[in-house]
């Protein structure tokens, strides 16, 4: 008897399940007249509230404008997103629209013909609305495969009260900068916050020195193989890094600290300067969790020029963050492209005011109400003479690994500037 009851229960459960699953699948098919665009992004409501809200709003707006289209969204965290995209692409199941990163990250996807070229979307005015150099970062062999959403440059943030306390002025030349470093180090204040366990953080310092000494092209050319990494400027830059380390310019134990740990030294006002992307701006302006007193204390300056160097003070290290791709094998490719175009335009109007994210499209500073630090960065962006993409993004993955490891060794003084450039040249020429 008991046994029978159990069996009955089991059968019942199975029946219920099959009805439930049946329901959900029939629901999908009932909307057959609607076309579905599958869209994956990496701004969950929990960790990126404002971005998430903008995305949701844009999708809603698009769906009201296009009654025949339904946008199906899947949201994942950054790291999970990266992994899932790889898994999906190996089984050829990419979403119709998704996010990608520039240059080196993009390459294997383009080689595998998984992303659709978006030049037809850019033609007809859209290209002009982007800041120069941003869509180019998503171009491979003359075709653009991604439309960037974010744009960042890396200034040196500094603590005004520490500077005032030791009578220091914002430096314009690298010599003045070094005087500041030496003064602070002598007084026992850590001059520069750096978390070099992550390695790309140190790469920023190297890239700027290379730019200021050898001009904006020398590093880019060494990477794209029209030049050589054994250029004297690239070696001098490496020597300057080690000089800075010798002068105790960076916080203690920087090679073992993550970027967040390094940053906290700056946020705790224990270190005076911090070179980082403009994505940190909310922390110094709008973030309500951070004391106003501290935020008022933070300014930034451009990386100073090296005397006798070829660099220009308006040349920046930075570049676009994520961009949107359209899957080459999408069944609704044209609608997906239309959606991407709509998204990029709307995003450009809202991202900086609502989420503090600087879009890759041009922003009219006169029309937006923003904290001064933002306006300054946006103005500097408009006056930028050059934008050099982060070195590890420019390189393909395995060379980037070599570069990042060498950066850590260079800062840790385990490799001489000579070997540093030689090993770079070897890795680059092998590809």
């Amino acid at each position: 008897m008991n046994k029978k009851a159990h069996t009955l229960l089991l059968v019942l459960m199975l029946a219920v399940f099959s009805i439930l699953t049946g329901c959900s699948s029939s629901e999908e098919t009932s909307g057959n007249t609607k076309k579905t665009i599958k869209f994956m992004h990496l701004w969950p409501a929990g960790s990126s509230k404002q971005q998430n809200k903008i995305v949701t709003d844009i999708i809603k707006q698009y769906e009201t404008d296009h009654k025949d289209i339904k946008v199906e969204v899947e949201v994942l965290d950054n790291e999970q997103y990266k992994n899932k995209i790889k898994v999906l692409s190996s089984s050829n199941e990419l979403p119709d629209v998704g996010f990608t990163w520039a240059a080196g990250y993009l390459e294997p996807f383009v080689k595998g013909e998984l992303f659709a070229p978006l030049d037809d979307v850019l033609d007809g005015g859209l290209k002009e609305s982007f800041v120069a150099g941003t869509t180019e970062a998503f171009a491979i062999k003359g075709k653009t495969y991604g439309l960037p959403l974010e744009l960042n440059i890396a200034p040196i943030y500094y603590n005004k009260s520490i500077f005032a306390k030791y009578n220091l002025e914002v430096p314009e030349t690298y010599e003045e900068f070094q005087t500041i470093v030496k003064t602070l180090a002598a007084k026992g204040v850590a001059p520069i916050a750096l978390g070099n366990k992550d390695r790309w953080t140190g790469s920023l310092w190297y890239m700027y020195l290379a730019d200021r000494i050898g001009g904006s092209e020398v590093l880019t050319k060494a990477i794209d193989r029209t030049g050589s990494f054994e250029d004297p400027a690239l070696k001098t830059a490496a020597e300057e890094i080690q000089k800075l380390v010798d002068e105790k310019g960076f916080i203690k134990g920087f090679n073992g600290l993550s970027n967040d740990e390094g940053k906290s030294e700056f946020m705790n006002e224990k270190a005076a300067m911090y070179l980082m992307g403009s994505w940190e701006l909310p922390n110094f302006t709008t973030n309500e969790e951070i004391a106003q007193e501290f935020k008022d204390n933070i300014g930034y300056f451009k990386f100073p020029v090296v005397e006798g160097g070829k660099g220009d003070i308006n040349s920046w290290v930075g570049g676009p963050g994520v961009g949107m791709f359209v899957s080459e094998n999408s069944k609704v490719k044209d609608d997906a492209k239309d959606f991407v175009k709509f998204f990029v335009e709307k995003w450009g109007e809202q991202s900086v005011t609502n989420a503090g994210v600087i879009p890759a499209t041009k922003v009219d500073t006169a029309k937006v109400d923003l904290p001064k630090l933002y306006i300054d960065v946006l103005t500097d962006l408009n006056n930028a003479s050059n934008l050099t993409l982060f070195a590890d993004v420019q390189m393909n993955a395995s060379v980037a690994e070599t570069h990042l490891n060498l950066i850590q060794s260079l800062f840790g003084k385990e490799v001489t500037p000579d070997d540093y450039v030689k090993q770079h040249e070897e890795a680059l020429s092998k590809e």
Binding site: K86, S89, G112, K197, G253, L257, E265, A397, Q408, E414
Partner: protein, 294 residues
Amino acid sequence: MNVNNVMSNKKIIAIYVLPALLLILALIYVPILLTGYYGLMKWDGIGKMDFIGLANYTSLIKDPKFWGSAYHSFLLALFSAISLIGYLLVSIILAGKIRGADLFRKIYLIPMLLASVAIAQLWLKIYHPTNGILNNLLTSMGVENTPEWLADPKIALYAIFIPIIWQYAGFYILIYYAALKNIPESLIEAAKIDGASAWQIAVKIKLPLIMNVIKITIVLAVVGSLKYFDLIYVMTDGGPNGSSEVMASYMYHQAFRGFDFGYGSAIGFFLLIICLVVTWVITKLTASKEDVNY
């Protein structure tokens, strides 16, 4: 139906074993073989695979970075094996009916209950170059140039060994404790009546009786160390400049950072072979003709 009937029917046994067997085959053995197979390919994880024969394996054998990481792994294995002696001592004391043995046992076990990432965060705080407990202690003792624990390539590896060994202490102590508790009380009492000292009882009676357990823990500790990954990945990520890289983290870096899944798979497969060989060697070395039985 009678249980004995069921157990004597081979077909029924096969049916009952089959689901688990299939799962193990599909989820463990097939992927292992696939890993070995991917190791024969040049593959970035996205595009198509190119068969390149044993090229990945030959360049692996010539790769000084791999052997550097293998050296670190074996060093960890050595340290873990040596620390077993300490665990054994602790558990002999704990099993010797001291007051508060239960409490101590729990204290030793707690690190095991923490997630690896939590342990890593804890020790990152301890090792912090300026705010860490360790360096603050050293400074208050008058040390001027406090070490940069995780940033100094000479000591980073050893600095991570400590939390790793600490992490597993409870596990091994628990195993030894259980084994020691299994020794019949009568044997120990007989020895005591015959006038054996505590030392003699430990070395001549307790150790031989739990020898089998000790052998198993040696294999566990060594093989576990060889494929160790968690704390290294979170605490230093193999850095600075590979000074704390172990085989598993090197595999991860090659496959997921360098987008070289073929080479990563080759490392993974090689790691498996190393573990198998080491296990075999240890069992051969520790094999005794017969088990001690009183």
